[in-house]
Every structure is written in structure tokens, then in C-alpha cells.
Symmetry: C4
Subunit: 279 residues, 4 copies
């Protein structure tokens, strides 16, 4: 199956394009694996460079080194982007895919920074290059674990959004209650501010920059904490149930027995466990 798909993707390409395609897009060959690891190293180092460049003392000292490194990586990523384009049959498919967009976002900020030289916008562009980190996931994309996880999480997404909606509703109500109860001087100066505090509390983060001081406020805070401590069970239950279903699904194909027609066999079963007939 995989091979057929590759053929479809690469048919009509010349020989060197075939080889390049195998090098860049596939990781079965030794060269393909080496390419992946080199790319991973480049991405990680370029991210560290962008992060360290934001530390003022380091920028003052090594600013030039960082600039050279940054341009080196930008050029390397530009070459890689071009190669990806020329060794595939339908380049537009790649360009508009999620990874294609991230790959582009990883290189354009550096070029744009030449045009727009304002300090703040430059800062934004620099930070944008950190999106490169998501390129890592291309390299783990083929892992079956990754696919398994994302299926289970996508299945639970609708249920979890309803849960988050419920949490947000609670937080709006409880935040406005504590706003009424607590004094302005203790930090609950407005409903949005109190709602922010309620989110900090219900998620059990608890910065402590704002904390209730009145008895009524502490009672409400205790209620919010216990609520947050209890309802974390809900997303956990949702995801666990979905994963258990995904596991069961993977273990049991739709392989009904041809003799007795019953399903629910393990994926490694050769004979029906109910009637002993050949599957």
C-alpha cells in the first residue's frame, strides 16, 4: 500500500528526483535517517539560538554570533524547502499542508526582518521562528503511538470542549460572586480580574498574587478549589475512555468469523475462538 502511494506521488519524476524524494520524505533508508537526524539537530539548535538571543546580556556579548548562526540556518532551511518542492509531483499539496506552512513560517521571518527594521516587529518575527519546533513532529509523525494518541485526543475533543465551556461558566459565576464578597483592596478590583483569579484557583495553579482575605471569600475559594480538584476527573475520564476504545478497536479488527459470523477476535487470531473455524 505504502509503496503504491509513493509511486503515485513520485510517478513522472526523473531518477534524481526519485532519489531526493526518498532522502527527504522517507526515513527507511540509512541516508534518509541521517537526513532526519541532521534536520532535527538544525531545528533544535536554531531554536536555542533564538531563545538565547532574547537574553539581554547574551545578546550584547554574542549578538553577532547569533546573527551568523541564524542566517546559516535560514539558508539551510530555504534550501531544504526548495528541495522539498522540486522532488514532489504536486508541490501545491505540500505548500498548503500543515507542515508546509510551518516550514515556510520557519524561514520567512528572517527575510522579512531585513525589510521591516522596527525593534518590536523584529522581536515578533524572531519569536515566530520558534514555530520551527513543531517541525519536530514531522519526524515522529510515522510513529504509530503518535497516530494512536491523536485519534484518541481528537475523539475526546468535542466532549472536552463542553467540559471547558462548563468550567468557564462556573468561573464567570464564581469570579463575580467573589468580586461581590471581597474588598477591592485585596486585588479583586473588577469582574474580569476576579474571573482570572477564579481560573488560577480552579485549575489549581494558585499564583498567590491575589488571594481572598475575608472569611466569606475564603469559603468561596475553598469551594472553588475543591470543585477544581474534583472535576479534573472529567477530562481524565473522557480521554481514558476514548483511549481504551482505541486500544480495543486496534486489537479487534472487523474480522467476523466466516463460519459462525461472530466478531471480537484479537488481531493475531487465526481461528475463531467460538467455533474453531478458520478466520
Amino acid at each position: 500500500m505504502q509503496m503504491k502511494k509513493d509511486n503515485a506521488e513520485t510517478s513522472g519524476l526523473r531518477s534524481w528526483q526519485h532519489k531526493l524524494h526518498a532522502l527527504i520524505y522517507e526515513s527507511e533508508t540509512l541516508a534518509g535517517k541521517a537526513f532526519d537526524i541532521a534536520l532535527l539537530a538544525c531545528i533544535l539548535i536554531s531554536i536555542v539560538v533564538v531563545m538565547l538571543d532574547s537574553v539581554k546580556p547574551l545578546h550584547a556579548k554574542y549578538g553577532n554570533v547569533f546573527l551568523v548562526l541564524e542566517w546559516t540556518f535560514t539558508i539551510l532551511f530555504t534550501i531544504e524547502y526548495t528541495l522539498r518542492l522540486i522532488c514532489i509531483r504536486h508541490p501545491h499539496k505540500y505548500v498548503f499542508s500543515a507542515f508546509g506552512i510551518i516550514d515556510l513560517l520557519a524561514i520567512i521571518p528572517s527575510y522579512l526582518s531585513v525589510i521591516f527594521v522596527g525593534a518590536q516587529s523584529l522581536l515578533v518575527l524572531r519569536a515566530l521562528r520558534l514555530l520551527r519546533i513543531f517541525r519536530i513532529f514531522r519526524l515522529v509523525h510515522f510513529l504509530s503511538e503518535m497516530r494512536f494518541l491523536s485519534v484518541a485526543i481528537l475523539n475526546s475533543l468535542r466532549k472536552i470542549s463542553i467540559f471547558i465551556l462548563f468550567v468557564l461558566s462556573c468561573v464567570v459565576i464564581l469570579g463575580s460572586v467573589i468580586y461581590l464578597v471581597e474588598d477591592d483592596s485585596s486585588g479583586f478590583t473588577s469582574i474580569p480580574q476576579s474571573v482570572y483569579w477564579a481560573i488560577v484557583t480552579i485549575t489549581t495553579v494558585g499564583y498567590g498574587d491575589v488571594a481572598p482575605v475575608t472569611t466569606a471569600g475564603k469559603l468561596i475559594a475553598s469551594f472553588i478549589m475543591l470543585l477544581g480538584y474534583g472535576i479534573i476527573a472529567v477530562p481524565t475520564g473522557i480521554v481514558t475512555t476514548e483511549m481504551a476504545l482505541a486500544v480495543r478497536h486496534r486489537r479487534q479488527g472487523n474480522n467476523a468469523c466466516p463460519s459462525c459470523g461472530r466478531e471480537g477476535h484479537d488481531h493475531d487470531a487465526d481461528f475463531c475462538k467460538y467455533c474453531g473455524g478458520k478466520l
Copy 2:
């Protein structure tokens, strides 16, 4: 089934009432969907207005705009409430339903604010309007996910209350122990205050406004933290188990016995477990 119920609810109504009923209460038609989305937008904007109005600088600047918007929404919601009443056969059923009460609570505060003009009571009334947020759930009420979640959560509610009762008992005992151990000067001034601290700690919120300073106090605090970190497994386990049961129930539910009509058979059952008839 749904259709029959609708007929029962709307029988004896005139044609325009039928149409209105479909528009307001149902969301299968295009007009019904548009109505739902418009209503959702109104609810969300009116909540944002109430929240922003509590920010003093914004109130000083845009107080009048907020007042106009608030009255606009109040009148819109009043019209909607009236329409809901006149296109249903048994209005009293709607009025005393959970959503009916929330719908009423969403409009009366504004009218009451004209009568009671005291600053503090006005504040409470304003906040009361935030209850509108729960109206959102009417719009997602028909989602099967919502029903699924609430069934599982309701089933676990009794077990979770026993768990919360246990946590509260621990917190009372451990709070009074730390009150005996710690000095007043470090913030543990009374047993209720220490119990509040124990709740902050066992739920892993940890504001840090009160924290133990003596060695014995830190030992007890460590114990409370590890306890809280460990027992969060209990509500999670309860909800997950209930959800797994709900999933199994949903998967199994459709194979009623042809002899006795009872449901709930395992997917690998050949004979009815209640009457022994062939399935």
C-alpha cells in the same frame, strides 16, 4: 419518537405558533439554527458587557454605552421569553424548568435595578445577569456528548460526595494539627484559618500567602501535599469507571431480546440472560 413528542407539545396550537415553536425550540431548520446562533451571540456579548462594566476606568468612560447595550439585550431577552411562552402548549412547564428559571433570572435584574437603586444591591443584580451564561448550555443540550457526560457524572456524584466528605474530614484534622504545631505569627492564627490553608494545600493550589515555617509544620505540610497528590486518583477513578460503564451501555443497548424485550446483553451473548430465549 421526537416527532410524536413535538406533536404532543404543539398540538392545539395555531399555524403561526407551530412555526414559531420550530424557530425557537428546534434547531433542525435553517431559520432555527440562525436563531440559535443569534441568541448565542447576544448572550455572550451581554456577558462581556456586564463584565467590562465592572472595570472602573471602562465604566467611567463607556458607562452610558454599556447601559444602552444592557437595556437593548434586556428588551431582546424579554421579547424572546414572551415568544417562548406563547408558542408552547403548557407554558408553566417551561417557566418552572431549569432553563426557564435561568431565562427569567437573565432579565429581571435589569428591571429590578430601576426599583432598588442602592449601590451594593445594584452590583449583586448586575452580577446575577451573568447567570445568562448557563443559557448557552440549552444550545448544546441536544448534543449526545452532553447527555453522555452528564449521565456519567450524575452516576459518580454520590461516590464523589463521600470522597469530598473524607477530604473535608482530613482537612479539619490536619488543619488543627498544624494549628497546634505552627506559630501564630506565620499565619496559622485559628483552626478555621488553618483548615483553609489545608484545603489550599491538599488541592495542590498552594497560594503561598500562608506557609509553614517550623520543621514539624513542614513535615505535616509534606504529608498533606503527598496525600492530596495521591488521592486525586480517587475521583478520577470513579468518573473514568462510570464513563467506561456508560460507553459499554451505549454500545450494548441495541440488542433487545426478541422473546422478553429486555436489553443490556453482552455483545457475545447468544441467549437472553433473563428469559433464556435465543437472541
Copy 3:
């Protein structure tokens, strides 16, 4: 079965003792239920009194009221304890049971406070009365949910202790690492202090009274946080698995089919789901 047990417990008792036993120990009759609710109210009010008495301003103002209330409850609980003793056949069994000890601990502190009049010991004795809160659980003891929960939790206790042992080992090692890395001035003054900080961090409590300031310290702290955030899955997984087993166990008795000998029938099954034979 329950009736037989009662007969065994109450055989050889006179008629009024039988009635008293039913009133105090059972909650099936209306009088028994009323007794339970009255007792629950007494326990809760007496706990609130002890807690409020520790608040200095309230003690100064209502100290005498609290004293009178406390002695009222002490006398009531003493009468109840005596009644429990005289209407049971083997009083020593009750005296040395967990609830018997708690019942005794709920009354002796008040009497001891007359003898030992030192301020600090008095304080300890007062707090000891809060143990009454565990008396509440006697009243929910008969709930099947309670039994279900405690079975699952007891089964997971050994696994969870190994987990806690592992967490404590990590915390000792990581705490001493951060002690080496961080400066004394930022609060990491000794290994025990640093281990305490590591517990605060790994359990995601995060008071913030001590926090790393060096880059190396922050890296280690980040590692501890992510570790704590990830391994909370372990106790949760343990308890959930045990609960799922407990649920399955409850649903499936050891009821093998007399015809085909197969097990795994639901607890409400009358006929074998495999061969259709009567169970």
C-alpha cells in the same frame, strides 16, 4: 442474613435493650433515622463550636457560650456512649472497634481538661475533639458506595505505597541536587529544606516561598515539575484499574452455568448467555 446477625448480637437482651439497639445501631426504622440525623447535627455543631472557639476575637466575645455548648455536647455524647454499651451483648467488641475508640476520644478530652489546666495541653485536647468528625462515617457506613470505594482503595494501597516510595526517593535526590546548585540566599539552606521544596514542586502545590533563581536551578525545577505533572498518572491509573476490576467483580459473581460450566454472567442474569440453561 442481617436479621440473623442482629439476633446473634442482641440475643439474651431484654425487650427495652432490643428497642434501644434498634434505635441506636440500626437506621431502618423512622426512629433510628431520626436518631442518626440528630446525632449528625450534634457532631457537626460541636465541631463548628471547637473550630470557632479557636478564633481569638470570637473566643473573647462568646467564650462562655462555647463552653456551655461544649459541655452540653460532651454530656450528650457521654449518655450516647453509655447507651451504646448497655444495649449490646459484647460491649468490649464495641469499645475496641475503630468507631468505639473515636466515640471515646470524642468525650474524654473535655473531662481531662478539668484535670490538666495548662494552656497548651488544653489546646491539644480541644483539637482532639475534632476527631468527632470521623463519627460521621459511621452514618454513611452502610452505603454500598462507601464499601465499594474502600475495597478499591485498599487493593491499590500497596501499589500506591511503592509509588510514594519512588516519589520520595526522587525528591531526596532532586532536592539535594538543587541544594548543590542553588545559593543559600535563595532559601535552599539545607538538604531537608531543599527536599521540602522538591515535595512542594513535584506535587504541583508550588507555594512560591522558596523558588530557584539560577538558570541551572530553574532547569532542575522545570524537570521536577514535568516529572510531577507526568507521574500523577501512576496513582490515577492504579486506582482506576482497581475500580474497574471491582465493578466487573460486582457485576459478575462466581456464578458458573450448571449446564455448560461457563462463567462471566452478569449478576442479574437468570439464564446462561452461552447455552441458555437456567443458572
Copy 4:
């Protein structure tokens, strides 16, 4: 099986070596159990001594006592290490096993501290002795719970690493976003510092030493908190699913097929799923 393995390990040893082997490596005999408990006590006391020695006032007062105790334990552990070596047939196997390395690391720091007398390196060596705590796990190594737990956790490790990778990516992006949004004066002085804050927030630790002050910053912080609160479900789901699989595996494992000898059949299987033979 166990006996055979022991024979293989101890064959070619003299009689006193056999007895020593049983004493040190096995815990079935009374003497073996006593040895284990004595060792456990030594390990725990030596760890407490190292920890207390780091507390400055205690070091000043009891420094000499700690030194004597430390050398006593070092000599005891050295004797134990030697005994372990001489009563086993392949000493190199033990030396290079995980526990062998920890056992060696538990004694060499004390000897090295005689050679290197610099204050800081001495500190590191002292802390290194705390690794002894992991020796405890040798004593619980034989518990089936321990093995069960580690199997489930090892199976979930790959999935959890992908999850941690995802969390780290989010934290890099969200940390740099808040760095752009928040002012330097509120503590977000560089991207690494902001990423550290994002880790503190997403893991719901929340020290509060750095907290957002602008409205945009608080909105982003709220998002990170809710994200962290929601995605904790993922590792929990992974571990729970793996544990459930491990439990099922353990429950099923004992029904080998009489025809082909393969295991892993469902409890309701009548025929071998591999060869079709009757079970």
C-alpha cells in the same frame, strides 16, 4: 524454576558461600528477612544523617557524631559489598548491574572525601551518598506489584515522551508569546525566563514569583492554565490504558492451548485462536 536458577548461580560454590548467598540475596529464610530489615534500617539512618549534616546549626553541634556514624555505615556497606562479591559465581554480573553500581556509589564518596578535601566537591560527594535511597528498591524488587507497575509504565514511556515533547513545544511557543506581550518589569525578561514561567503555569505548580500583569498576559495565562488542566488527562489516560491491558494480560495468561501451547486467549474462548484446537 527459581530453585534451578539459584542452583545455576551458586553451583561450584562452597558450603559457607551457599549459606551466605541465601542470607544476602534471598529473603525467604528468617535470617534473610532479618538481614534485609537491618540493611533497610542502615540505609534509612545513613540517609537521615547525610541530610541532617547539611543543616548548618546541626552540623556545628553534632558534626563529629555525624562523622562517626557516616564512617560506621561506610564500613558496614563496604563489608556488605565485599560479601556480595565473594558469595556469587559471576561477580562481574553483579558489579555492572544497576544495583551493583548504586551499591558502589553508596560507599566510594566517603573514601574519596579523604583524598579531595575541597569544600564544594566534598558537598557533592556527600549528596551522592543519598543515592543509597534507591537501594531500598532492591528490597521491594520481588514484589509482584513492583513488576506490574514497571511493566505498565515502561509500555507507556514512548507515548508519554511524545506527550512531553508536545507540552515542551507548546511551552516554547506560549512562553515567547507572553514574552512579547508582557513588560520586562513584571519578570518576563527573556524567552527562556518566560518559557520557565510557562512550565510553572502549564504544570499547575504556580509559584507566583513571576505572574502576568497586563490584560493580554492574563488572557494568555488563562489559556495556558486551562490547557495544562485539560491535557493532564493525556498521560493519565495512557498509563491507565496500559495498566488495564497489563491486568487483562495477567488474568488471561494461564490458559495455554493443549494443542499448540500458546497463551493469551480470552476468558470466554472455547477454541485456540492460533491453531483452532479445543481449549
